[in-house]
Point group: C2
Chain length 469, copies 2
């Protein structure tokens, strides 16, 4: 997929140039314009072509972000927020040029409050950094999208991941945000009460807005006590249908699974090869349970009985760290195992999400589709949410292969939407999924556009993302 | 508190009159204009004076609601959505006249999908009606604000209640909404996937918008399997601080309490009298646990140990229905017990929510405040969320008493906001809390107003609510 550089008008260039001149006075050597820095800030990890910004700003405070926004607004220059650069749909690309606002210098944990079960962090703090800090005090932050993303980026893209089935996504675990809006005003979306019925939910409006409505600079997040015991296990199934049925019954039965991950046979094969394992190459579930020693044992036993009911098993599990990590090795290394299938290609991860009852159908149809089009792609999923990833190995420099991959991703998104699902469960829209927004949201798109226009009348906040132009 | 009828301009009256004329052709005898009907639709259950609409419409389909909105839009006539009329902050009042849109004829459960753990209902279905239907199939919908509200109203006011500590509020349990926007367009905010990262979160924007952005006509909701076992219990504490500390430690420890309710001594005294009980008149917690027989026993035992650590107890609990209901009698009848304290007055329930660590301080200060101002008001709370209610018995016809009650509610809201909490945890803003929005949201208020103006440029959707004029 290739999107042409659109920032070619003299007017656009002049506006950005003037903004850069003024920002240089404010930021000095924290305003970068060298090619290497620009390139790093548009690494898309996908087939989307890099579209470089004109400069990278490295603010250190919310007030500095507000000054940057005011300067950009005065010249009409685009702003592209940047966290860890681990987004997957071209969120950090700069199709109209402009200034990448890299928040990684804002990386302080401002407060951890065990009595309130919350913490406040700057937007550039990463998930692992926060969890290292929390672990010492007996707590953790559960949302785990895999990459070591910044928490600001995770909120902006409504990230979720393996633990969502139990703890929810960023949508559920953000108490409040501080954000700089398009006019440079600084909004704190809520206090720190665990719930509120006071006014429009600006917190949830900003979560998933991908920097198109404001730049998140600070977050107050829910934290949880580290579980007394964690059990992990692995369970093979005779079919994808059986694995999905077992998952549904486990959730219906109220077993509070902390993670429940599906690996399809192509992925298991890749993992066997990469991690030197000898798992049966069948649909398999990887589970984790959190609780007291007695509770996780009861949950694991109950799950084993459910799995057996659908012909699955044996369900092997353990609560000793080394043992449970052994069971999880195939899941843990899945992305790298998929990548190793075809080292010359770029592994591109796409995702969709469907109602639980449609998951098995959807995966079966996708596997047939891949096979029919000569594509090799492992599939793995957060099966408790109906969300799965297809890890396409694509040589994006080969136009015919790139076209086949794009066509597949289009069919994938359309299939999920037709099943009353969504074109993206957790990766976001960015540039890559813009084309499906109308099919998915219909009359909701004009509503989104009205909000965008009302809050960013100049169109400077991450333009060219989410809403098709 | 009294808000003058503002719909006195000839222009406003003419617009509404013309709209009524046109709606009469569409709805026939489902358009009511008799005084009794108008009065029933503005019953506020508070000290807020009733402000009658000019007519009540009784639509039966989303399409009819859309037609009503289009007619109202063409004349600029206000629309006030109405569910069960159980809201507590004047949400259903008509300060500018207009048409009350009563959704109670839209009361069909459209689908229950056990495999997806969701259901779809029309907005006029009540909580109890849905749960009766679900119970037969082994499921339940957990959000329980006490009143038998409609689910549309619960979404519109971001309702929560006793089970929020475990299952979340309406914010967390709505998968998707169908709503008629101010221009008559019908938006479905999302598919039925359990999560999505595709675009702005219109679902959460409408939840808590109190009818000021659109009229909710249909909801897809999460459902849960009925727990195998439910245990209920009661635990007295030496102080409010001890009860709060035990609550915090229980949550930190990961005990998944399903309900944890605090009753303060004045409430216990009222309950003892009303329900013929003999509970110690001290701060007391009422708990419920959901799970397997073994899990609830483990949880209850763990809680008992925590309570003892803070001088609380004995913690008595049971999983037999009659026994656990006996423990919960004081909590269940709390509102009526409070009302019986002073039968000549109107019991008005107000609520705030603060971070858990501030709850004990807040309640202590409020009790001193009440005492200092000669007010009698039981306090009870959803202590796991930091949310509590003050049940003020007020003779609203006595101007001096009404003024004292209003002044108290103002101090209550301001105190909660100063503690980094919110002026309302679950009742909503309506008319009653509008005055505190600026103090709570600061620069967020212009953002809310920009959204309101963008989505309802004519200002016809429940005007005079949430955002001060």
């Amino acid at each position: 997929m290739s999107i042409a550089l659109a920032n070619s008008s003299a007017r656009g260039r002049n506006a950005v140039g003037s903004a850069i001149g003024e920002l240089d006075l404010i930021l000095g050597d924290r305003l970068l314009t060298d090619e290497a820095a620009l390139r790093v800030h548009t690494h898309t990890t996908t087939g989307l072509a890099a579209q470089l910004p004109d400069a990278v700003a490295l603010p250190e405070t919310t007030e500095e972000v507000a000054r940057i926004v005011k300067v950009a607004a005065s010249f009409g220059a685009p702003l592209i927020p940047f966290g860890a650069g681990s987004s997957l749909e071209g969120h950090v690309n700069a199709p109209f040029g402009g200034i990448s606002v890299d928040l990684r210098r804002m990386n302080r944990v401002l407060a951890v409050r065990p009595s309130d079960l919350d913490c406040t962090v700057e937007a550039g703090v990463t998930r692992e950094q926060l969890n290292e800090r929390l672990r010492g005090e007996g707590y953790f932050f559960p949302v785990d999208p895999g990459a070591n993303s910044t928490l600001g980026g995770m909120a902006a893209t409504r990230a979720s991941g393996t633990t969502t089935v139990r703890y929810g996504s960023m949508r559920d675990n953000v108490v409040s945000l501080k954000a700089v809006m398009a006019d440079g005003s600084v909004v704190t979306t809520a206090g720190r009460a665990r719930k509120s019925a006071a006014g429009y939910d600006l917190t949830r409006l900003l979560i998933g807005s991908e920097g198109t409505l404001g730049i998140i600079t600070e977050l107050t997040l829910r934290i949880y006590g580290l579980p007394a015991s964690i059990a992990g296990g692995y369970c093979p199934f005779p079919s994808i249908g059986a694995a999905c049925d077992a998952t549904i019954l486990a959730i219906q039965s109220g077993i509070p699974v902390a993670r429940i991950e599906l690996l399809e046979p192509v992925q298991i094969r890749a993992s066997n090869r990469y991690s030197n394992l000898s798992l049966a190459e069948v649909p398999s579930l990887f589970l984790e349970f959190h609780g007291t020693e007695a509770a996780v044992a009861e949950q694991a036993t109950a799950f084993g009985a459910i799995a057996a009911k659908f012909g699955g098993g044996p369900f092997e599990w353990d609560s000793r760290p080394e043992e449970r990590e052994r069971f999880w090795k195939a899941r843990k290394d899945a992305f790298w195992a998929a990548t190793a299938l075809r080292p010359d290609a770029r592994t591109t991860s796409t995702d969709v999400c469907v109602p639980l009852s449609r998951l098995a159908d959807c995966v079966r149809e996708i596997e047939a589709d891949l096979k029919g089009h000569g594509l090799v792609a492992p599939i793995l999923g957060h099966v408790g949410d109906g969300n799965f990833h297809v890890l396409l190995a694509v040589d994006w420099d080969d136009p015919s292969e790139a076209a086949r991959a794009d066509a597949f991703m289009k069919r994938l998104a359309e299939r999920a939407i037709a099943m009353d699902g969504t074109c993206t469960g957790e990766h976001g829209v960015g540039q890559g999924k813009m084309a499906y927004l109308a099919a998915e949201h219909g009359a909701g798109v004009p509503v989104m556009r009205a909000i965008k226009t009302a809050l960013d009348p100049l169109g400077i906040m991450n333009p060219g993302k989410i809403l098709p132009g």
